[in-house]
Amino acid sequence: MSAQHQGKAPPLIRFEQVTKRYPGVLANDAITLDLHAGEIHALLGENGAGKSTLIALLSGMQQPDAGRLLIDGQAVRFSSPRAALQAGIGTVYQHSALVPSLTVLENLMLGRRWWQGRRQSATRRRFTALCNDLGVRLPADALLSSLSLGERQMVEIVKALWEGRRLLILDEASAMLTSAAVSDLQRSLTRLAAKGMAILFVTHKLPEALAFGDRVSILRAGRLVASRSAADLHRRGAEQAQSEIISLMFDAPSTATAAPAPPPSFQEKAPVLRVQGLRAACGEQEPQLDGIDFSLSAGEILGVAGIDGNGQRQLAEALAGQRTTLAGRIELGGEAVQAKSVPQRMKRGLRYLTDDRLGEGSLPAFPISLNLLLKRVGDAPFWRQGVEQPREIEAYAQQTISAHNIRAPGPHTPLGSLSGGNVQKLLLARELEGQPRVVIYNKPTYGLDFQTQQLAQEAIRRQAASGVAALLISPDLDEILALSHRVAVMAEGRIVGIVNNGPDARQTVGRLVVGGTA
């Protein structure tokens, strides 16, 4: 039931010349957009193109400065998220909108008026029904904090569907999901659309947009630059559609349309990192990291695949020194480092690019210059006898900013005012500085716009080529297969298999991922 509305039926929702300004930014510039019932509408755009603002306007978080929002042809004004919900618009936000200390069911009750009562059994019935609609199974009485990220994402969708029965907005909903989960999601969404719902699927993953959307719209710099029906795009063939969209998104002829060639097969050398029987301290609600064995040679990229939340993060933290090693060995260049601290491991060339860029990787309120040196506080020449050397720090920041093409007003700008892509460029610059020997990349491209994604992947390749070993953790199997020499698959805190990359790797890895979770 795709794209049968050639503008005859009135659209469920119409944006009419909607404009929204923030101080110094024109976030949405006279956008006109229709959303139809029964249609999956993919909204593509780089970071900062205005997608989040558009969602905020639709979900009642913000109000437009100019223009109108029409539902069934009637002008409406959402003064609060509640108003949007009452109009049947449910939203799955990029950042979790669930309370970790409540159970799944309690989270779903959240939002009802307080006098309405909990209606426990009715809620449970409805929950089961919606789970069936989506084709998923979720524990109703578990604390949300005990669920995996993928499960939480599904709870988010169930929650959005609870009241948003006409339009479902998904903001980067697939970002945290494995490819298997993404196709589950696609199936679920198609089912919902078939029941007559409108779905706005916001993403910056081009293939997903093409695969999901009945219609693809593209935002650039706050303006709607194109809106194409899927049928129209398919007619021209995938290759051409992709390159056209990329040029629309970035306003430049696409050079990166072709999938990257598989990496050259890797020659085994003496390992630079050896991990044996590693067990690390993990919280009660985390996967228990245990029995980890692998080794890594100079110049090798080892991909770590698996459903998110199966111990990848714990592994990275244990290697980096953020978690106590309970058993086993970690050898870096032949030296046992499992008892060494984070800075000691860092000095020996072990680097960790975290996936939690703003949560732990940086301090948004601090200037760029200090964020660049967070892991070298006290080191010469930036500090002498413990005293800050402002000139050295500024010069270094200035140089890094220009060398890595970070778009920022200056070294004293708070990091929080940078876009996500520039933050990641900064973190990459920080981790790859000096002489790294082993770099752990945790979701290095997650949530980034296309160009920064390419840039990050390029950096990983370049580093490997110069002899740096890499552990590449990513939920995106395509990315892993495009970059890695070997692929380790994690499930429930263990490595369930390590596969050489090659033509059959996708299938083998896929099987391990599915088998590991069974």
Partner: protein
């Protein structure tokens, strides 16, 4: 960096809330049928302009500045040490107990620093338990430091009443340090050396927190403990250090107050300076210079206000209301000045 309009703006930002609070206070004074003009004139005249009053205001500032220095360390490190009053009092008692003996046996240049060191150590030790609970189990330090304050006050009284009691006095108090053995006074005034110590300590703390690697480490911990862990800072050690320094400086405040002014501690004495300094430090946004300004304003107000209230035949309670008004208006203007920034970020 420091162009004229900016300085004027900042000054206005500090003075405007004061003026607004004073205006509200004036209304209250009128309601009580007192003359606000002469009331405020007395405060300024007595607390700031008269020789005697200015000296008193400066003397009163000394312990407040040291407490503020301690709070800056803790607050910048993200640790809400609300237990400074207990740390202050306990250190004061230890100082008072040790000082007379030390002064009798050692030369003053050694006796006084030793007493201060002991005060610093005792207060730091008193904060070790909240530091341990915070570092080891993540127990919120607001609860633990508040409880340690209740405990500290009781313990200080017990110490005064039992082991440190001066048998010569009928009401329980420690031995008295002779006036001659106290901290030297500055240039024949009644202001003692403690003020210099306090100013130096505060400036040192400000410099250390903003310009040194250690300060940056503490600020990282304060900004986000997860980041501190990620970049490999010794979080436990830093927590102990921040608590120790913070409490130690509060203890030093107690020592300076005893060695410079009192010479003894009486049972049930608790000036509770911390409750006043805590909001001032917040309002100064942990900035050393701004803290000096706020503390001095408060000292002038408390010295001059006592006289003003007496002359106006008002109970001293009126000053509490005035201080509360100033705090609220300061907080409000701070909010107003921070608002455009918020918007930009949002």
């Amino acid at each position: 960096m420091t162009d004229i309009p900016q300085i004027v703006g900042r000054l206005l930002q500090a003075l405007l809330p004061l003026l607004l609070a004073l205006a509200c206070g004036a209304l209250l004074l009128l309601l009580l049928e007192r003359d606000p003009v002469s009331f405020y004139a007395t405060i300024i005249e007595r607390g700031l302009l008269s020789r005697l009053g200015l000296q008193e205001s400066l003397t009163r500032s000394a312990p407040l500045l040291l407490l503020a220095a301690g709070l800056i360390v803790a607050f910048r490190a993200g640790l809400w040490n609300l237990g400074v009053d207990g740390q202050f009092l306990l250190a004061a008692v230890i100082t008072a107990a040790l000082a007379p003996g030390l002064a009798a046996t050692l030369p003053p240049w050694l006796a006084l620093p030793l007493a201060m060191l002991a005060a610093f150590a005792v207060a730091a030790l008193w904060a070790a338990l909240p530091a341990f609970l915070k570092a080891r189990y993540g127990v919120n330090e607001i609860i633990t430091t508040l409880m340690m304050t209740f405990l500290g006050i009781s313990l200080a009284n017990l110490l005064i009443k039992l082991p440190f009691n001066d048998p010569a006095t009928t009401s329980p108090q420690t031995l008295t340090l002779a006036t001659a053995d106290r901290l030297p006074r500055l240039l024949g005034s009644t202001v003692h050396l403690g003020l210099v110590i306090a100013l130096l300590a505060l400036l040192l703390v400000h410099w250390a927190m903003t310009r040194t690697a250690l300060g940056l480490r503490l600020r990282i911990l304060g900004a986000n403990p997860l980041t501190a862990r990620h970049v490999g800072l010794p979080v436990t050690g830093l927590t102990f250090l921040a608590f120790g320094l913070s409490a130690g400086l509060a203890g030093l405040a107690g020592a300076v107050e005893i060695l410079g002014v009192w010479g003894t501690v009486r049972a049930d004495w608790n000036p509770a300076y911390g409750m006043l300094v805590i909001p001032l430090v917040f309002l100064a946004r942990f900035h050393g210079g701004a803290v000096i300004f706020f503390v001095f304003v408060f000292a002038v107000l408390s010295i001059g206000g006592e006289t003003a209230a007496r002359r106006a035949d008002l109970p001293n309670y009126f000053l509490l209301v005035l201080v509360a008004l100033i705090l609220v208006f300061l907080a409000l203007t701070e909010w107003l000045s921070a608002r455009p920034l918020m918007r930009k970020r949002g």
